[in-house]
Symmetry: D2
Subunit: 337 residues, 4 copies
């Protein structure tokens, strides 16, 4: 069976996902697209060599009888409505993060999905599909390092422009740690605190950079995440898990060892798009396979809601001097793995 | 267009390639198979969930009007005949190494392909498709380390059984270095010498292990390759390129950094099948794409012939005290890249 | 000139320093010792092959006309009195940490030294003499990574016994970070906060382990130090300095690279005595040279006082939910470097 | 006891050894020096702050009643005569490499020392005193990697001037591998072969660079040593020991890990004097201690003779197309360790 996909939002990310589904992955084909910018959507269809309709809006794509499942890569504030509409139409939907721009919005999606009775939503949190994170989780789950007690993490980016503001360090950047660390530890967060070190000279008035977010989990695991979006030197993700009997760290991406100019060195990536590039393929293939098989197992609407709730607390903590409580209702049985 | 593939040989490697073409890669489907063991072929078709005919022999597959292109994964001595038959039928053929079991056999294939007038053959040398080797070649081609002068390589395997004999270190193991190093340096070899260190206790009467092969290229680059197939500790491939101004080494596979039991360590693979696992996908997709596009660009019959000629010299050198000359005719314009 | 040393306290550390001064370093000789346990002191003198008097108490050693300078390696609570007595006698004194068991005690020593008019005291903070820390400071001071913004540190030990209590994580363990980080950044701390992750199963009732100490400096640099004294896997010190344009980390001790049992690994030390073993030699030689030259430049009584003040705040922070202020008077001109 | 040393040759190396013996090491003092350039010798004495006589020639130093032991750091061709004279005077002598400029010269020294009846000679092969080499030997001797079968080594230097000729790659550079590898494996060499890769552009008419020396030991261990004295990128020593069950490699010198400019890197040394700098201290202290104790245990005249014999074969092999035999008489019981 070839899954017929409708893509809502044909900007950079949407085009990348279209490319993947059309030319890399198995079992799907893009049959309809839409975008606020219809002309751009048409040009994208042409450039990508698709045999796909350009429809006038996302609802048209969702409700097209020719479309089996949706990919939502539109402007963030529109995600919630499109996902709810997909659920209303009973169609599976892969929604790029954020699932919704508020925790309440995520909760509305959760409630709608539970009411529907079957999982329809997969959120675009790709890191659990990364081979490095999978290897790390395997070590933790094996018990080889004992119970995790502390995590030391970093999310560093060379530079951002003037449109990137302090809160985006949480909503755009930390959101990936807020999702993958829940998956890694199989735990929820109970509090968040944000610490602002002295700022780098390489930032701008609307952005306090770097930041350190301190998280606590239900079982008392303590996590520190350094977020530094103007670090200059590269795009660098670090996750170190300190357990009772050992430490396991996320692998560095594989790279040539060079001896040159009195240094032995490995390259560090500079573009965020390269860091988890294989994981985007894997998450979408997992969505396609799941839809065809009739069972989605990737990051769920609940995972989106949990990450969003944590993100809200972190943004609040940016303006609070101590820890901010994160309270999440118990995970519904509907979302038990 | 969906390329209709016929697979000749449904043993372990054949089944893996069938799995790839059917469930991982784009643009192809397996429509016919054959194997010496017809019952095994039928079971494989069933287990792999194929809609494919089981034909009584390779020629039937090659000549089936339903088959566009061939994959040859049969018993090594049968490769030459199948490839020649595919060329005679004017059909593209991906042939697992060895292209033929003698250099003369490879030459017959080269002559047949040139006579046909268009490239039809791709040999299953996967290392040029490995991301690590590609990154290494990119550094060399950039000129960053200057002209390569020496290569220090190693091909190590934990253990082999009693059926593995001294010459197989060349024909089965070194053959991969003989192909990828030509590609890496864009050069041919002019001589080979084999040195036998004291043997490991962990070998058997019919296998001198380890061995060191010394190769010289046209431009005078000197290469040493340690082949150690009972090394015990892991499956480990090393390629270090010493240039006029620096050194570049093949990346280690990415792995978790573990601190445990008074060691900081990374895992080393133990199964050869894991080391270049992604490259098998990439080489087959490149074959499929090339056939659909009408132009094969992967390792050619000439590359198979050159590697085979070099391998013959290495086997001879195992029984000679000094260097053995490797002479290859000039590469025909037909094979210019 | 050969400096004639008196050593007060001939336990394990005292004997090690005696060994160094007698057989490794230049320019000094131990001429008198004392210890609460006179019999032990006599045996130590014999075992170490010294020509030294065993005097009945520390004051006797300090006031002996044959002694030029003192080394204090006695029971911690006695350090203050011996150092004050050495200052009163106008004799240089190398005092193992802690300078005194209270910040007030350290302040009394500072005041006495200033009153004396010339530096007489060097505190046994050895890390600034470690080649790794010196290399790290050199990188920071060069400006290569820009202004330091954050430090991520860890002080890990395999196991401690039942006598090691929660506060000792500060007074015995973190005290080294409290001194070396001031030296590394050339800054003082302004606040400390202690976070307790879930405890390891491998601790005991009187010890909360691990702990995370968060420090803030005058310029706003934020430091996190993980203290984990039952970490099981090894003795491991980590210091990572995140600057505006790069990151510099304390070197790992040099070790053999081993490929064995499907791992490529380096050993991690297990005994704290090995980690900075060369630095003990260097700090004592620096003391000896400084006394002979007439100018001490190593860690001063003020450094001891500053570290002690910070330590007090950290111990208080262990029992406080938020940050605890660290206030240190301005450094007297007497201690300007 | 303070050993009274006479130093013959006050050039750069001589001054460094004088500095060590006077200001770093224990138990010795330089009381007399000589040099072809008497004025330079006098200036050196003054600059180094010695209370030492400047004598008119090496014989005077050797025969001075005030001198207990000798350090020979004069022009290479004069070493043999000074060492023989020291033996004739019954005085211990530390001789910088080369012990003599011919194997026959080394043999004359061996014969003289055996005739004397007690070891008097230590040769300045410092690598066995290097902590890295000691750690490597410890791993090998433990049996952890099984019997060594192959060694892959490299001795790389950034650049040499026009006075450095092809044979000096053996006599000045490889000589260190020829001595330390005998110590590491506790074996002698039986043959040497030299291979010349294509030359680097960064060499001159009188120097073929790089070179690869292939050595074989009595037990059949095969060793390849890459010698590349204009490698540009740094001063880099590599020693990899491949055993029956694992591989152990010489540690890289400890260095800061830097993340900067899209690279994670460690510095590589550029000056040969820095690479084994601690080993020079250790070897001289071992000589001093050995003389005082009455038993020298460092690299012996026999070790100098064995290395010289191997070096002669390597120089011959530079001009021979195949292997050159290395024959060494059996080691006299006099030199049994």
């Amino acid at each position: 069976m070839t899954l017929k996909l409708g893509v809502i939002g044909t900007g950079a990310i949407g085009q990348e996902h279209i490319r993947r589904c059309s030319y890399v992955l198995q079992g799907a084909k893009v049959v309809a697209v839409s975008d606020i910018n219809l002309k751009g959507a048409a040009e994208a269809v042409k450039r990508l060599g698709l045999e796909a309709e350009v429809l006038s809006d996302g609802e048209q794509v969702i409700n097209s009888s020719n479309v089996d499942a949706l990919i939502v890569t539109s402007w963030d504030p529109t995600h919630e409505a499109f996902v709810l509409a997909a659920i209303a139409a009973g169609k599976p939907v892969f929604c790029e993060k954020p699932l919704a721009i508020t925790a309440e919005g995520c909760k509305r999606i959760v409630d709608a999905e539970i009411a529907y009775g079957r999982r329809l939503v997969q959120v675009g949190f790709m890191r659990p599909y990364d081979q490095g994170y999978q290897a790390l989780k395997k070590v933790i789950d094996s018990g080889e390092i004992g119970q995790p007690l502390m995590l030391h993490c970093a999310h560093r980016n060379p530079a951002v422009d003037e449109s990137y503001s302090t809160d985006m360090a949480i909503t755009n950047t930390l959101i990936h740690e807020l999702s993958v660390l829940r998956w890694l530890l199989n735990e929820d967060f109970v509090s968040a605190q944000v610490i602002f070190p002295r700022a780098t000279a390489h930032t701008h008035a609307k952005l306090r950079d770097p930041q350190i977010v301190l998280l606590e989990t239900v079982k008392g695991v303590r996590i520190d995440v350094e977020i530094f979006v103007n670090c200059k030197y590269g795009y660098d993700i670090q996750t170190e898990v300190v357990g009772e009997s050992g430490i396991a760290s996320l692998p560095e991406p594989s790279s040539v060892l060079l001896r040159s100019n009195a240094k032995r060195s490995h390259n560090i990536l500079t573009d965020w798009k390269d860091r988890f590039i294989d994981a985007y393929d894997t998450e979408l293939q997992d969505f396609i396979n799941g839809v065809i098989k009739g069972e989605l197992t990737g990051p769920s609407a609940w995972d989106g809601y949990a990450a969003s709730t944590a993100a809200d607390a972190c943004v609040k903590a940016q303006n609070t001097s101590g820890p901010v409580s994160i309270s999440l209702p118990p995970r519904p049985a509907f979302y038990e793995r």
